[in-house]
Amino acid sequence: AQSVAQPEDQVNVAEGNPLTVKCTYSVSGNPYLFWYVQYPNRGLQFLLKYITGDNLVKGSYGFEAEFNKSQTSFHLKKPSALVSDSALYFCAVSLGAGSYQLTFGKGTKLSVIP
């Protein structure tokens, strides 16, 4: 079985400050990890993914995420937050080859304060 935990329901950060949204995962094998963002009344948009290789992954809109195998974490980061980054962020995991199912966390609401 695979699972994802996002320990914070909400993260508040001041505009211009760095932001981190946390994610930990549990899988029996090598994970494929993803971050998606959801704006109100919209579907999810893909931000970035980790499949293999460099532990630091760069994605859309200046976001990046760091894969840490020993801590089973895949935290989302951005050096300088924008008000427009305010949204709901979801971490997801897949077992990769042989599995087409993405398992999502419950989501973290990010609020960037002007």
Binding site: F34, N41, R42, G43, S94, Y100, L102, G107
Partner: protein
């Protein structure tokens, strides 16, 4: 380039009724997945269709069924609706690869009364 389109956007049904939701994938995509997102929760995988067949299924009862057409569009059918089926139903399309990112539609909001 049209993205993933879903219809209808909102739907109200009564317990015991049946519902059909529709999805057109992003141009060039051949794989369609369906997810259920309850209020305040992350999306949960229902099933995925590829080459007009259900390729993988999540932990949902047989009341949930689907179909994929030769043009890659898809339908989600739910029979014998329960109050607990009220949710946002998301369709996502992708290329046929394990690590291919999903492109989501804006969803269909189903309310069961």
């Amino acid at each position: 380039d049209a993205g993933v389109t879903q219809s209808p956007t909102h739907l109200i049904k009564t317990r015991g009724q049946q519902v059909t939701l529709r999805c057109s994938p992003k141009s060039g995509h051949d794989t369609v997945s369906w997810y259920q997102q309850a209020l305040g929760q992350g999306p949960q995988f229902i099933f995925q269709y590829y080459e007009e067949e259900e390729r993988q299924r999540g932990n949902f009862p047989d009341r949930f069924s689907g179909h994929q057409f030769p043009n890659y569009s898809s339908e989600l059918n739910v029979n014998a609706l329960l109050l607990g089926d009220s949710a946002l139903y998301l369709c996502a399309s992708s290329l046929e690869r394990f690590n291919s990112p999903l492109h989501f539609g804006n969803g269909t909001r189903l309310t069961v009364t």
